[in-house]
């Protein structure tokens, strides 16, 4: 019902939506996201990536695989928004990258605070050590 309404509002747009996406395009998208997933899991396995920071990567890979394997979802979004198929996929990827970068910013801020406290504590302890050594 909903999609019928939208088609009536924008018939030209609805006609321009292809019923089929070339399989090569879908394969490319699926392969790319599979690569991301495999790389992420492998980095976690080798302990080069903390699970905590890998979660968003795993989500991104999974979400794009879902978009590639169930074309009904991007088709529906195409009809609603009028955005092209590939643009929808790129937009999804872009959103996840945005989240990942945002997460990195919070991590950097946290590290920054910890670094500052650590430097101060080190300097205070050094001074105390010097004092204890000279009073001995």
């Amino acid at each position: 019902m909903l999609s019928w309404n939208i088609m009536r509002v924008a018939p030209a747009l609805a006609e321009s939506v292809p019923s089929q996406i070339p399989w090569i395009v879908r394969l490319l998208i699926a392969a790319t996201s599979l690569l991301i997933l495999v790389l992420t899991v492998e980095l976690i396995r080798r302990e080069k990536l903390k699970e905590h920071y890998a979660l968003l990567w795993l989500f991104s890979g999974a979400a794009i695989i879902v978009l590639a394997s169930f074309p009904e979802i991007p088709f529906f979004l195409m009809r609603v928004t009028g955005i092209f198929y590939l643009t929808i996929i790129f937009f999804a990827a872009f959103l996840f990258l945005l989240l990942i970068v945002l997460q990195y910013s919070t991590v950097i801020s946290q590290l920054f605070d910890q670094n500052r406290t650590l430097g101060q504590t080190l300097a205070l302890l050094e001074e105390r050590l010097r004092r204890l050594e000279t009073t001995k």
């Binding site: 500052r116 406290t117 430097g119 101060q120 504590t121 080190l122 300097a123 205070l124 302890l125 050094e126 001074e127 105390r128």
Partner: protein, 253 residues
Amino acid sequence: MKALLGCLLKHRVLIIVPAYNEAEGIGSLLDELHEHVPEAHVVVIDDASTDRTASVAGEKGVKVISLPFNLGIGGAVQTGFRYAWNEGYESAVQVDGDGQHPPEEVPRLLTALEDGKVDVVVGSRFLSSGGHKSTFSRRLGIRILNSVVSSILSQPVTDCTSGFRAYGRKAIGFFATKYPYDYPEPEALVLLKKAGFSAGEVPVFMRDRLSGKSSIQGWKPFYYMIKVVLAILVDLLKPMSRKKKTLPAGARR
């Protein structure tokens, strides 16, 4: 035992001198401090200077805390607060290592701290006549900041960028856990207000710096002002818990 220790430590004053590459002027500043406030202890926070700041200060017989890397004025002064808190000082005075804050004005700040029953006393160069008043663009920036900070504190503030301040023990404890990073002075006043502390101002003279260069020159006053106003606005948005963050163990007595 603890009570006895507390009695002995009472009225102890720590002068915190943050210094970055001030080897030229720090010696005479420390001499002046000794002359005008002989009863106070002095700690120089060497903010990873690349010159002989630390050794010059050490030769004068004061405590020197050398940071392993440059933390900026906020991080350096906070090191001083943590030291003062750990060592049980009742009050602390910040005197910048560039010599702008004349040591003969320190007693005035301390008297105001005791008489005024406030947690922090700010030395204002604009309440007094004469002395160093800074350049025009800086004064303009400071005036705009003053009006922002005054309205938040709902009390007149004439020199919110002055780092020449005296702190009571409660304020020392507060800033030991939470102090703004760069250009910290105006922001620190807003944090104080949000945490329910009181502040006052006294007129002081300020001098031209004895050595080194200001970090705020040319067009920078405007950049500085905008950055600080933004930081203050963000501070206002932050939820403020009175619950104290605990200091990391280790540096504690």
